[in-house]
Amino acid sequence: MKLLIIEDEVELLAAISSYLSDLGYSCETAKTFKEAEDKISLYGYDLFILDIMLPDGSGLDLMSSIKQFNQQAGIIIVSAKNSLDDKIDGLDLGADDYITKPFQLSELNSRIKAVLRRRNFNGNDEITFNEIKIDTNSYEVFVNGTALNLTKKEYDLLLFFVINKNRVLTKEAIAEHLWSNVNLCENFDFIYTHLNNLRKKIRKVGGENYIKTLYGMGYKFSE
């Protein structure tokens, strides 16, 4: 899976790039509008992570060349918060998703996976982790072949965990993912309820509890 990350902030670029490379993506980077324009026309990519505010132009202006050279590619726009106009423009121009700074890498990963699934690059809509099978097309979850009856939030929570498996997730990151753009009073304890319900439901059908609590402050989905 080949990605082009277009971002003028070097450290941000490095952090995103190294994180996504670790996850197995092949990442290329562009720091300026010009550089991005060249790479878009020269090479093929499956997904673009596009910062709108670039020193030598607006990322929105790159959208047309992306559409011209990489018709099948997904686009995730990155922008500063509250620039609602950018969001609307970006989605109108054909972006698949929109993420605002600051965001966490786990969230970005989840968005990338969702865009790729939607664009059907993997060829299948099933995500499997040991005995757990998630059908992202029908929003169904099976544990050892038994269908689980999950709420929307529990389903989102499980999918987020499985996509970010083996990674430490903070309560904030989970809350931000499940209730994005909702001011949730800076109190994230309510996640606990959803988490426990999810654990119970999986355990009831004989599934293992893969959600580990780390020092009461973070979570990790792993063997």
Partner: protein, 416 residues
Amino acid sequence: MKFLKRINRQYFWALVILLGLISALGYFVLSFILDRKMSEDIREKEYAIIKEIKLRNNLPNIYPNVETIQISENKLKPKVYKEVKLYDEVDNETEDYLEYASTVEVNGKYYLIKIRHSLVEKEELIAAISIPLSILLLMLFTISFVMTKKLNMTLWKDVENNLKAIEAYSFAVNDELSLKATGIDEFDKLNKTIEDLTDKLKKDYHILKQFTENASHEIQTPVTISLMNLEVALQQELPENAFKQIVKAIGAINRLSALNDSLILLTKIENNQFLSDTVVLLNKVFEERIEILSTLFDEKNLTVKFEQKGNFVFKINRDLADVFVNNLLSNAVKHNVQDGVVDIEIRKDRLRICNTGTPNKLNNDTIFSRFTKENSKSYGLGLAIVKQICDKHGLEIRYTKTEIHCFDIYWRNKSQ
């Protein structure tokens, strides 16, 4: 009262008073002249009568104007003027006369001379002069009054149009304020001053706007970098202490970011950078938000009572409406107690949201101020934002505490 109406009214009364004064003055002057003329006339007649007696020993008698009789008393009486009523055979009615009586001595004999002058003549004369004069004055004043009014209206038309243009002007819409030249020096000078002032304010506004946008962007980038690096650091095998420190740092950075967002939001509302361009049904926004925040209600096991007794409609930016309702609801949850209650009541022109909470009444003076917090888990900006939104949309918000804490929101001018 409108400027023109006031001017016209004053002008009208001044004219009325002036007209009255001129009429009174005219009457007195005319009357004075006529009276003098009359007594002169009488004296001339008296002189002529005395001459007639002296030369021809003839006593002239023309009733009712002249009467001359010889009297037996040898004594001169003082000359007297008095008004009398006499029957006029010609007109078949009694008329007013001015009677002059004097005793004179001619050639050693005494005579009583009475000369009478009709007063009707004087009144008729005054009328004959003052009526056309009054009509003339009245016409003059009416024409002058109407013309001034017309002229004022045309002159002020431009000023009124300019006023409307200023009222409709908004920095956020970003159009030029162009005022129509009136051709009157003072007004044009005022126009120019307003245009210059607006230009300057507009520049300041844009600088400020740009600053908030830049500040927002510039802060978000380092915040994002910090968050990402901490997130990466968190993935290593870490001792409990280090792990907790990193999670706390992430939490603090998230708070910083949220704080930044809230402050920028407040500034944007203060600067009128949100266009109130959508007609929003508040009931609907509440329904949506209650659904979204249901997790929070469940967490504290709160009972939510949502009564819709009318449709509350207002013009606002759509996102701002979400923030408005979100903050009100969050506030009601945040300061609530376990198994508490949230009561929402919406009427056509007012909204009431109540929640159980601390037994103490909150400080009415500071509750809507920034960074007033009940506990460390909030920023103290939520209600400040709500207040600011109220202020900008003609709404009033009031806090009361009976058994529970209540916030009433209603229209400022339609308030009780």
